[in-house]
Every structure is written in structure tokens, then in C-alpha cells.
């Protein structure tokens, strides 16, 4: 306990000491970063789209909630280990491949089922692309000007990137980007809802507030967004002002809710890249042999980290033989428990594990 206190003592010299807490520091840096980027992107605040002002306020509130949740989460001992070591070994040769597989193509969801993969790609990429369009517009990192009739200039971060014909393909894609992503999200959400209504396994475990509510929120955002386009094109803009407020409200509520519910897995998911790197990196360094059978079953580092994390939670699994239970491989640990019940040390008998694969 003494050691822990000493570590937390402030030295008074670090830049961290200027802030009251992690939260204050993160929030300060994030807001400064956003303001700075907007300052550059909007050419010194001369091209701010005030129509999107509500989204800006919503984003700031979202960032507050996000840091609150993320920092509370990152303070847990096991999470801290993975974040620290994950950042340290981020520059591995396999990192780009792992990142693409985990965060872009979702290979592991493909292995859980092609239907689930399809719905997840539609929803995930629909949301990601929408964010790539919405937030640059909100903070003025991207806007459009027209010098010459019939041609739009696309301005990104204050730099004129290209000039495109107003009825050309790129312009059409830009106007309709959010319509396309809305259709993607709506299809994905409908697939997800259908699965949740029909699939017995999903029905066994799902809860309305946890599993359905985020889907309905995404649906509300996408439908009200599409309704804006519909009102503009087919109703000559009738009802558009009211609908734009409803849409804005739905987006802001979803943003604020995002770090606290099921959708929190979006910002937290990059940790899976850290976890994969951690396992690969430390497995290459040295593997832990089981204290009973000698089979290598986990990296030495992870075994050590788990024992330490458990220790910080006041959990000590010391076997009578003197080693920690986490130093035994899984089959040996199970047999060791049977041995505690029966009194016969089955884990020391060299026989094949009994059949564990009964088919229903």
C-alpha cells in the first residue's frame, strides 16, 4: 500500500500537474484540438455553418460523456495493463493487418455468421461514413463554395481540394452521401431487428433497453435524415424545418447515449487490436509452461499480468503445491479441482482428457 501511495504522489513538475484530473486534461486537450482544427478549417471562423450549431454543442457534450466513461473504464487494473502495453507494442508489423481485420472487415463476425456480418457491415460502415461526412461539416473542416456558376469548389481544412461540375458524379455522391449511408444503416438495422425477432438464440438473451433501444435510435436518426431529403424533393420543403429539428434532436440524443450503452463498443473496440498484439508479441518472447504437465499455454507476460491484476483485487489463488492456479494449463486446472474433491491427484495421471464433446 505504501508503494502505491508513493507512485501517486505529485512531483509538481509534470505538465499533468496543471490539471485537476485525467478527465480535466483530456477534455481540455480535446476541446482545444477541435477549436484549433475548426480555426484552420473554417479559415479563421469565416465559414462556419451555423445551421449545424446544435450538432456542435451535442458533440461537446458527447466528448464529456465519452471521456468520463473511457477514463473510468481505463482505470480498471486489467484495462490499464492492456492500454499501456498495447500502446507500447503498437508498432508491430502485423498491426495494419489486425486493424483492418478487426475494425474494417470484421472477419471475426464473418465467422459468427454471414447474416450477422452483413448487418454489421451495413450498420458499422453506414455510421462510420456518416460521421466522416457530418463532423467535418459541423466543425467546418469541409465546405463547398461556388466561384463560377455550375462548379463547386470542395474546401477541406481550408485548402481548395478540387473543383467539380455541380451535376457531375462526385458532386452527386457528395449531396447524397448521407442518403446512401442512411439506406445502409436502415437495411442493417432491419436485418438486425429481424434476427432479434426470429432467432431463438438472440431471443433467449436480449433485453429491450440494451439490445433494441440502440437499434431504434439508429433507425430514428436514419429515417428522419432520409425524410429531410424526401421533404425537399417531393414536398417542396414542406415540414422540413420541423423535421430538421427532430433529426438534430435524434442525432444529439444518440451521441450523448453512445458511450453508455451497447454502442460503447464502437469507441472501445480498438482495444481488440491491442489485445491481439499483446498476445502475439509476448507469445513470441516467452511462453509459460504448465506447472503440472509442462505444456505451453499462455505467454509468461500474460500469466504474470493476470496474477498481478487478481492480486490487486485481493484474489490469491495459491495452490498447496506452492504455485498460483493461473500457472496451470486449463485441463490441468480442471483436473486439479476434481482432485481437491476426490482426494486423488488425477492431474498427475498422464492419460488423455475424457470425452468432453457430447452432441445434443
Amino acid at each position: 500500500m505504501q508503494a502505491k501511495v508513493a507512485v501517486n504522489q505529485k512531483t509538481g513538475k509534470s505538465i499533468d500537474d496543471a490539471f485537476a484530473s485525467h478527465f480535466a486534461k483530456s477534455m481540455f486537450l480535446a476541446v482545444c484540438g477541435l477549436v484549433f482544427l475548426s480555426f484552420i478549417g473554417t479559415r479563421m471562423f469565416t465559414h462556419v455553418d451555423l445551421n449545424l450549431y446544435g450538432y456542435m454543442v451535442g458533440t461537446f457534450i458527447f466528448i464529456g460523456g465519452f471521456f468520463y466513461r473511457f477514463i473510468a473504464w481505463g482505470e480498471r487494473p486489467p484495462t490499464k495493463v492492456f492500454i499501456k502495453k498495447g500502446i507500447k507494442i503498437l508498432l508491430r508489423r502485423s498491426t495494419p493487418k489486425t486493424t483492418v481485420e478487426h475494425l474494417a472487415t470484421y472477419n471475426f463476425i464473418w465467422n459468427r455468421g454471414i447474416y450477422r456480418w452483413t448487418q454489421h457491415v451495413l450498420m458499422g460502415w453506414g455510421c462510420i461514413l456518416s460521421c466522416f461526412v457530418t463532423f467535418p461539416l459541423v466543425f467546418g473542416w469541409m465546405y463547398f463554395t461556388m466561384d463560377e456558376n455550375g462548379y463547386y469548389n470542395i474546401i477541406a481544412m481550408g485548402i481548395q481540394v478540387m473543383t467539380v461540375p455541380a451535376d457531375g458524379l462526385i458532386a452527386k455522391l457528395s449531396y447524397n452521401a448521407l442518403n446512401i449511408t442512411a439506406v445502409m444503416v436502415i437495411s442493417g438495422v432491419c436485418m438486425a431487428l429481424y434476427r432479434r425477432l426470429k432467432n431463438m438464440q438472440a431471443r433467449a438473451e436480449q433485453q429491450f433497453m440494451y439490445d433494441f433501444l440502440p437499434l431504434f435510435m439508429l433507425l430514428l436518426v436514419s429515417v428522419t435524415g432520409l425524410a429531410l431529403t424526401f421533404m425537399n424533393i417531393f414536398m417542396h420543403g414542406a415540414g422540413q424545418p420541423a423535421m430538421s429539428l427532430i433529426h438534430q434532436w435524434s442525432v444529439i440524443i444518440t451521441l450523448i447515449y453512445l458511450p453508455f450503452g451497447k454502442l460503447a463498443h464502437i469507441p472501445f473496440r480498438p482495444m481488440s487490436v491491442f489485445a491481439r498484439n499483446y498476445r502475439e508479441h509476448y507469445a513470441e518472447q516467452s511462453m509459460k509452461g504448465c506447472k503440472v504437465c509442462g505444456n505451453e499455454f499462455v505467454s509468461t507476460e500474460q500469466s504474470k499480468d493476470v496474477i498481478e491484476v487478481l492480486g490487486r483485487n485481493d484474489i490469491e489463488f495459491q495452490a498447496k503445491e506452492g504455485h498460483h492456479l493461473a500457472e496451470m494449463c486449463l485441463p490441468c486446472r480442471r483436473k486439479y479441482r476434481i482432485a481437491q474433491f476426490s482426494g486423488f491427484p488425477i492431474h498427475e495421471v498422464k492419460v488423455k482428457e475424457a470425452n468432453q464433446d457430447a452432441k445434443g
Binding site: 482495444m271 480442471r334 474433491f341 476426490s342 486423488f344 468432453q356
Partner: protein
């Protein structure tokens, strides 16, 4: 009435009905999450089942960096939430009984969730509902207390969970026959 899983380990006849039933539970995707082990494989035919004992202070959840392992209000320690599990396998290393299984293809851990879709409504878990030898039972605390009286152990050796386990668990484990030194006839 709160019921809990109660194991009388030495009743096990090794039929593996519990493994087969486990595959059929909602959410288990036809993979079993429990184990049956020989007690002394080269000498006799005695077996014992082993499954998640649903610790009151579960090491798997404590070691999970993603908070993917949640504890249900009934005390059941649930399987990893599919969207949160990051595939680090900390839980498999932390569990003192070696229970969690890991699917490398799906990058997902899965473990006994005490058939939460059933037990949250007071229906016994699949394993207990099929066990032909009363090894796995679904009992109230009162009934477990009656068992204690029934076995009439005057040597103070009645055990449920401790000291044969590492910490307090929601599943109660007992070995009355072995402790009384009697053979049971079925």
C-alpha cells in the same frame, strides 16, 4: 423463491447428459460449456462433473479488461457480451477452475451462463433438468438445508463449496457419500 444449482458430485455416472443438454440451451450455439472428468481413470469408472460455479467475486470478470463478463442479478456470472469481448483470454487464465472456453475463429470467449434465459424465470438450467442421477439439482436454500439434515453428518463435515473451492460460490457443491464413507446404491 431463489433456487441455486446444487451438485452432489459422487452421484455422477458419467452419462454426459449434462454436456449434451448444454449444447441445446438458447444462446449456446450447440457447443457445451461444462465438463465431465474421470476421478481415477486407470482404476475405476467414477466420474464427476465440473462447471462454472458462479463465484460471488468472480476472477474472470475481475480480470476482464473490457467489462464483457457481467454478473446477473440472480448471481449468475454471464458469458462474455459478444460486442465487448476483445479476445484477450485473460478470463481463461484467471478462472481458478479453468472453465471459460475460447473460440479463436470468432475471437470470443464463452462460458456457462447458468442458462440465464431459463434460470432468471426460475426454470432449472439444462444440465440440472436432464441429470438422471441427481448429481445436478436445482434447489432452494431451504431444500439444501434439508439435505444437510438428511445426511446427518455429526462429524461437522458437511460441505457446500468451501474449503474445497477457492472462494464463496453461488453453486453449492457437496460430497455427502464420500464424507460419510458409504456407498450409494441406485
Amino acid at each position: 423463491m431463489k433456487k441455486r444449482l446444487y451438485l452432489e458430485l459422487e452421484n455422477c455416472i458419467g452419462c454426459r447428459s449434462c454436456l449434451a443438454a448444454c449444447t441445446q440451451c438458447g444462446g449456446h450455439e450447440e457447443r457445451n460449456r461444462n465438463y465431465v472428468y474421470d476421478v481415477n481413470p486407470l482404476v475405476n469408472r467414477q466420474t464427476m462433473p465440473l462447471m462454472c460455479l458462479h463465484c460471488v467475486n468472480p476472477a474472470c470478470a475481475r480480470s476482464c479488461p473490457a467489462q464483457a463478463i457481467q454478473i446477473h442479478e440472480t448471481g449468475a456470472v454471464l458469458s462474455a457480451l459478444v460486442e465487448k469481448c476483445i479476445g484477450c483470454q485473460n478470463c481463461t487464465i484467471a478462472c481458478p477452475y479453468g472453465i471459460p472456453k475460447f473460440d479463436t475463429e470468432q475471437n470470443l470467449m464463452y462460458k456457462c451462463d447458468l442458462c440465464i434465459d431459463r434460470t432468471k424465470n426460475g426454470i432449472p438450467p439444462m444440465c440440472a433438468s436432464v441429470c438422471p442421477s441427481n448429481t445436478l439439482q436445482w434447489l432452494t436454500d431451504e431444500e439444501i438445508g434439508n439435505r444437510k439434515k438428511q445426511f446427518n453428518l455429526d462429524n461437522g463435515k458437511w460441505v457446500s463449496s468451501l474449503p474445497y473451492l477457492e472462494s464463496e460460490t453461488n453453486v453449492k457443491v457437496n460430497l455427502p457419500g464420500i464424507l460419510q464413507g458409504i456407498e450409494k446404491l441406485f
